[in-house]
Symmetry: C2
Subunit: 616 residues, 2 copies
């Protein structure tokens, strides 16, 4: 049964790969664009909706005027970021994620802050995008609405399995749905505009627009701006992925980044415009995009195409986090600030531990927030913008410090970029603080603290393990030491005898040690011991509290036995091993317990002599 | 933190006790009665209600006539059982549980059937009684109704903790609430009768009695009878517990059994009569007992006293299972039919494993059946009556076989008892089959099969471990064998050096073995190896699939190394041990993995050399 389970797992995760088989597919602009940008482009599926969520309950029908202004500000910010990040691409041809840029220019601690923000981002990217993907599905098939958490979790599980297999091998295929999404959305925008302006269609609001209940305040507009900034998440992916482009990789990456911005401009601007035109009203059942496309296309095939490509591009956005976070964790772990296991590649060469941790944490978020994008988003943008800010100011510092050709001009661009993202971070932090952003402000310092503690631990361990040059290995000669070997006995059986025979080969000073829990079995043992006439002393200790390990440890430490602090005690433990997995449930795991406790003593050698028992 | 957790657990479960401290408190009739009978007496809290559940939906108001007849049959059956069990007490002064009686007289397999029924019974006793206790509480405080599963689970957790502590020490205290229950219920019965017959009170039904919708059929009455038989559960407890009585223990036990029956007669009969008088209608919110006592006492203090004592006696009924099942499992485990762990006494001398298993399984039942007594009861009585039947027929066979004074008369009593319980088993099985009894008919054979498999396993293991007399231990001399010692190396550090130094003391033939996962670290290692000028060969194997253990096992099995099938390979594994518990999360547990896999090989000795790393 365990065998079959093993096979099943193997089939799910694919056959193992050799280390040499790491193959990095390189992209040109045409494929790099869709592959690098699914995260950024897919954000438009929820960003416009988020702006409306803020405005509509307060200023009702007026929202549609202000939405466009807010969107314009966001688009402006995006272009500033684009130019800033093009400079990062120039400076970091090996890939300039915020962690690396911040660490490189501000040192360790700032790097860790950026790292912590990115870790939180990536986890949220998966939770948000998978939830939004489910929302696209349930908007088309409302019957599934009550299962949205389950659907989201299934999507995440698929991503985990796919990434454990190493999904990248087929990554060109991933470009196709992004193009499909871009084209179908652009078609919808075009058709939607034509239908109203040339076809004379008068949009009928499907949901009631709430009455105006408040005034247009700066705070309200900033709030809407902060909410819409989720559209910019994922824009930094291109600068991280420079090495994935064909040569000249930097030039290709810069082109892709510019194209990406133009696409987001069109798609985000277009959807915002349509939302005002068709008076979409956000609610927790049907997404704004679905409302618009349903008005434009009715229930025909194009409606389902839009929902379907939206769902797919959002899954791909989640997927970018599954390549991004494990890589980031491996970086941080190599620097010694995260558990070392994150540097280990699994049998399919993917960083399995990072993938699994990401899957688990994002699933927990989905469960806590009941798979609702709207509740998750306030946490999302803060982390992203903190890492933007650190990365931009990092670049700014770099130009100031290193100078180089045109450094003043470049410093201004990154400086302005940094300033704008910094202001945005504050706006987002303040307006969304009580909706969840506070969690991020607790989590980031907590994560940084943990990472510092981990590093301290590794450094202490390394220090204690490090050999100094003068600590040459002692030329201890074979059998030079006075060595005592203790063999615990419970019953005189083959397993014990095997252990005893082994003990004889390594020492002349053997002590058989028996812990007596009930007198009857002890007498039986001693009688048998006499029968077999073994020429080795047996020490019997009574255990009042029925513990086997207590008296053994006490004996090792006692005067009676004690052989000096430098002496290594060897304990030879007979352990019978049942080959069937369930067999071990049926036996007291005394050998295991003894070993676990003895391990914590100094000057001890624990020898396990397995005795295999077949077919039980 | 782990330390504090340990302290907390210690406080919860009390300080450890010496084996000699097993103190069996012995009871006279006055204390033995309430302590042994809480299970049986408490059953009346739900038995009458169960009869009405069957009758009322079909024959409405007529139920109250038939209820009395059904109750009379049950009382008759009880007295037959009482006389049968008094004979068991005579025959088994050491305690005659069904498992022992059946095994003794019919042999192993029948004993196991009785054992399996008893195991199921005990688990159900806890689930049913704890749920019924909660029902008594929620009937008095309806606000708690929506938390009934949680309340039941909390009660079970308290029982588990209490029994791990060894609750028996204060067991005389346990007699008090039983007497309180008996007296308050008898008072209620008396008062209820007076109120109607002498006070001229005309009971007004609180709930509507459903209209008559069917006929009075035999099947219906048998159904009601089967449902009411739950009143008899727990009656066998006295015969199990003979050794707990003061001398002359058998006489005391027999007196207690008779008194118990008389009390059940009064209480069960009285409640049945009151139910007909006050026209109680069973429902899932307020118990029948609560309905009656509320009508009799209004909302005054006596109503709460009744609910409170009912709740307490039901908890004590659950508690009997917590002493019964672990003891039974210890018996079965000593015979080799259950995992050996059940024979181990915990630090407080209670059979901890049995207690925990019972707590977990009954909690699962409570969760599955949503804490509703009414859904659990159909499973309950079958097992009880199967064990009654086996025990009675066992006694019958015993008399036939052993003869002895008055054996014919005694054989008739047990024979009739067996026949009646057998018929009742069939009635219960048939009428309640589709309501859940079928589960028991699957579980009993399944459990018996598992127990037989466990026994087969233990016998096979014992056979393979057993020494024959001619297998005298070989007089292998120290260092006589040609012995190879392999020391795996990852980094040249203090931990490795300690292992190497130990290896030198046990053999001259040492091989250092390195698995190369990336070339860079291997080169670093080899360079350092040269620097330290160690006079031992180092073997380097490349691992394409990044596994450390694969190449090691392959090497041990290869020509290159192979030293004959009789040779024992010693693998000395350096393992650094972090003293803080969370430290181990931060390290790849390679040493552990290697040990686990090597353990499954023959002719191997695994030596672990711990290297303690402090304060990390």
């Amino acid at each position: 049964m365990s065998l079959k389970l093993g096979n099943l797992l193997d089939n799910l995760t694919g056959k193992r790969l050799k280390t040499e088989e790491i193959a990095q597919e390189k992209f040109n602009v045409f494929w790099g664009l869709p592959i690098m940008s699914s995260d950024a482009i897919s954000s438009v599926a929820y960003a416009g909706e988020e702006i409306l969520w803020k405005l509509i309950p307060i200023i009702g029908i007026l929202s549609y005027n202000y939405m466009l202004y807010v969107s314009l500000c966001i688009v402006f910010l995006m272009f500033m970021l684009t130019f800033s990040y093009r400079q990062t691409i120039d400076a970091y041809p090996e890939g300039g994620g915020s962690y690396i840029v911040a660490k490189d220019n501000f040192g360790r601690n700032t790097g860790l802050v950026a790292g912590a923000s990115l870790i939180i981002d990536y986890i949220l990217t998966v939770a948000v995008s998978a939830s939004a993907s489910t929302a696209a599905i349930t908007s088309a098939v409302p019957a599934l609405l009550s299962h949205k958490v389950a659907i989201t979790l299934i999507l995440i599980i698929f991503l985990v399995i796919g990434n454990l297999r190493g999904i990248r091998e087929s990554s060109k295929l991933f470009g196709v749905p992004t193009y499909l999404f871009i084209f179908s959305i652009l078609f919808m925008i075009l058709w939607g505009i034509i239908k109203v302006h040339f076809g004379g269609y008068v949009p009928k609001p499907v949901y009631n627009v709430p009455a105006v209940s408040g005034e247009v305040t700066w705070f309200l507009l900033l709030n809407a701006f902060a909410a819409g900034c989720t559209a910019l998440t994922g824009i930094e992916a291109v600068s991280n992925g420079v090495p994935s482009f064909k040569e000249p990789s930097q030039k290709h990456a810069k082109t892709v980044l510019l194209l990406l911005s133009l696409i987001v401009l069109m798609v985000f601007g277009g959807i915002s415009y349509l939302a005002t035109l068709y008076h979409a009203v956000p609610n927790s059942k049907v997404t704004v995009v679905a409302q618009i496309s349903h008005q434009i296309f009715g229930g025909n095939i194009m409606f389902y195409v839009i929902q379907c490509t939206t769902a797919i591009i959002l899954i791909m956005a989640s997927n970018t986090a599954f390549t991004g976070l494990p890589l980031l964790l491996a970086f941080i772990a190599k620097d010694g600030y995260a558990p070392r296991q994150f540097t280990k590649r699994g049998k399919r060469l993917s960083y399995s531990n990072g993938i699994i941790v990401l899957g688990v944490l994002s699933s927990i978020l989905v469960i806590i927030f009941k798979g609702d994008t709207h509740f998750l988003l306030p946490l999302y943008a803060v982390g992203v913008f903190i890492s933007f800010t650190l990365s931009q100011f990092g670049m700014f510092t770099r130009w100031i410090r290193n100078k180089g050709r045109g450094w003043k001009y470049r410093a201004v661009i990154n400086g302005v970029g940094g300033l704008l993202t910094f202001i945005t971070t504050i706006i987002i932090g303040v307006t969304r603080f009580k909706h969840g952003a506070w969690i991020v402000f607790i989590l980031i310092p907590a994560l940084v603290y943990i990472m510092l503690k981990i590093n301290e631990h590794y450094r202490k361990v390394a220090k204690q393990l490090k050999l100094s040059v003068d600590e040459m290995p002692k030329k201890v000669n074979f059998s030079e030491q006075k060595r005592y070997v203790i063999v615990p006995i419970d019953t005189l059986n083959k397993s014990f005898l095997k252990a005893l025979n082994y003990a004889r080969t390594i020492s002349k000073n053997i002590i058989i040690f028996h812990v007596s829990i009930d007198g009857e079995s002890t007498n039986k043992l001693l009688k048998k011991w006499d029968e077999y006439d073994i020429d080795i002393p047996i020490v019997v200790k009574k255990s009042s509290y029925r513990s086997v390990i207590g008296p053994l440890v006490k004996f090792i430490e006692s005067e009676e036995y004690y052989a000096g602090p430098e002496d290594t005690v060897t304990v030879v433990i007979p352990q019978f091993v049942i080959t069937k997995w369930w067999g071990n449930i049926l036996h007291n795991q005394t050998a295991l317990l003894i070993k676990t406790i003895l391990l914590k003593r100094r000057n001890i050698a624990i020898v396990t002599i397995p005795y295999i028992i077949d077919e039980c």
